[in-house]
């Protein structure tokens, strides 16, 4: 399993691997929104947590179809499915690799990109904490969507349509927790809800995704 994680990370770092794709998209969103909204600092700082969350979510979505599609096309997925690693483990490792390549850099970069949107200082730690808790769920749910659509050519559109509704609870609770925390209110409830979604998807979705993969490999 470690070998698979190392391979996926190595592939992501090499040319054309997609590392930085999400990050670049996130940077573009956070740079363009202030131009679109205008220079009023108070409006920007009020919408910043929500925009950062939407930006991170879309950046995550951008690289989802790579999770299984490339391995499916070159035949590696067939070979992995017959290897000693259980398919559930393969799904979990691939979601983890996706998170390390997409979710984690987004989380680390969000406070800096927040500065572009006049995010106020208590917001930096809140956006970091909420993304850290929420992005694993985005990767895991995304891996499930990718597993459902793996056999389809240009399955990206269908996958986005399948995955986006599943992302909405994470987005609502994540942005809510960041906004409340920034304003000085208690954010425990949305944080717990989001942590619950993350824990639940990590616990259940590897099984659902591997069942979907088995069907798609037939």
């Amino acid at each position: 399993m470690i070998a698979l994680l190392i391979r996926d990370l190595r592939l992501a770092m090499r040319a054309g691997g997609g590392f930085g794709l999400g990050l670049a998209f996130f940077l573009i969103v956070s740079t363009l929104v202030p131009f679109g909204v205008g220079p009023e600092g108070d409006i920007l700082s009020r919408i910043a947590p929500g925009i950062l969350w939407v930006g991170a979510l879309l950046a995550c979505l951008l690289s989802l179809d790579r999770i299984f599609q490339l391995d499916f096309e070159d035949g590696s997925l067939d070979l992995l499915a017959t290897s000693p690693i259980p398919l559930e483990g393969i799904v979990a490792i691939k979601a983890l690799a996706h998170w390390l390549v997409t979710g984690l850099p987004l989380t680390l970069a969000a406070p800096f990109f927040g500065a572009l949107m006049q995010l106020e200082s208590p917001g930096f730690s809140w956006i970091f904490v909420t993304l850290l808790l929420g992005t694993p769920a985005l990767s895991m749910i995304g891996a499930f969507g990718a597993a459902l659509t793996v056999g389809l050519k240009r399955g990206g559109l269908l996958m986005s349509l399948l995955v986006l509704p599943l992302y909405i609870p994470t987005l609502i609770f994540g942005a809510e927790a960041a906004t409340r925390g920034m304003a000085g209110f208690s954010a425990t409830t949305p944080l717990l809800m989001m942590a619950g979604i993350t824990a639940g998807s990590i616990a259940l979705l590897p099984f659902a995704a591997s069942a979907a993969l088995r069907v798609n490999l037939r």
């Binding site: 090499r14 070159d74 037939r218």
Partner: protein
């Protein structure tokens, strides 16, 4: 040297009905492959050789009948080699070796004459070299039963010889191989022609599946 196969390399199919796209394509397939044997699978294009091999490898369930083999004894060599273009020859082999709990790749590198290519990214290999690397993967899996789907495609005559030598060495150690091919490999092997097992869709359906639910939705 490579580990001797740890498991019993016996593979048996009993009255197997296999489907492609939900339609039965072969029915009543029965054969036994014993350790130390090579069986050449013959049949015209589209007759179901690949489907049979995928069913035997466990990638798709049979409609009826059963495959008898000890778990984790089978490795499948498909049309696609499962190579990552941005990884070098050595990285590709090391990955598959560690997935299967092996560490020694020298045997595979020498067996398929890849010594001069180990540093090269597999994107820069010729079609025949890629194929050789894909076949070298079989040696690092340490599994006793090889299911091979037209392994000699794009190989030149000396490379076909290398492959035949590798199969001979493998069966001499107690392994077994089922090879779908259209050419003469020069191996002392029995032939298994799947022509007579062509399914009649009207009689091949299994009553347990006759509600059509699974095939319609999965």
């Amino acid at each position: 040297m490579r580990d001797l196969p740890r498991h019993n390399a016996r593979l048996a199919a009993e009255n197997l009905t296999v489907t492609r796209g939900g339609v039965p394509i072969l029915q009543g397939v029965s054969f036994t492959l014993n350790p130390g044997e090579v069986l050449i699978l013959r049949g015209p294009n589209g007759s179901g050789k690949t489907t049979l091999l995928r069913t035997l490898a466990g990638l798709q369930p049979p409609l009826a009948g059963e495959v008898q083999a000890e778990p984790e004894t089978i490795t499948y060599g498909a049309h696609a080699d499962g190579l990552k273009a941005t990884l070098s020859v050595e990285e590709n082999l090391r990955f598959w070796a560690s997935v299967h709990g092996q560490s020694d790749i020298t045997n595979a590198v020498e067996g398929f004459n890849l010594a001069g290519l180990v540093e090269r990214p597999s994107a820069n290999l010729s079609a025949g070299q890629k194929r050789r690397l894909g076949l070298a993967r079989l040696l690092v899996t340490g599994r006793p039963i090889w299911l091979l789907d037209e392994p000699t495609v794009s190989l030149d005559v000396p490379s076909v010889q290398l492959f035949a030598d590798a199969v001979r060495a493998h069966v001499a150690q107690g392994g077994a191989a089922l090879i779908a091919t259209h050419i003469d490999l020069g191996l002392e092997a029995a032939s298994f022609d799947i022509g007579p097992y062509k399914a009649d869709p009207a009689t091949a359906s299994d009553p347990a599946h006759s509600d059509g639910f699974d095939e319609a939705f999965l």
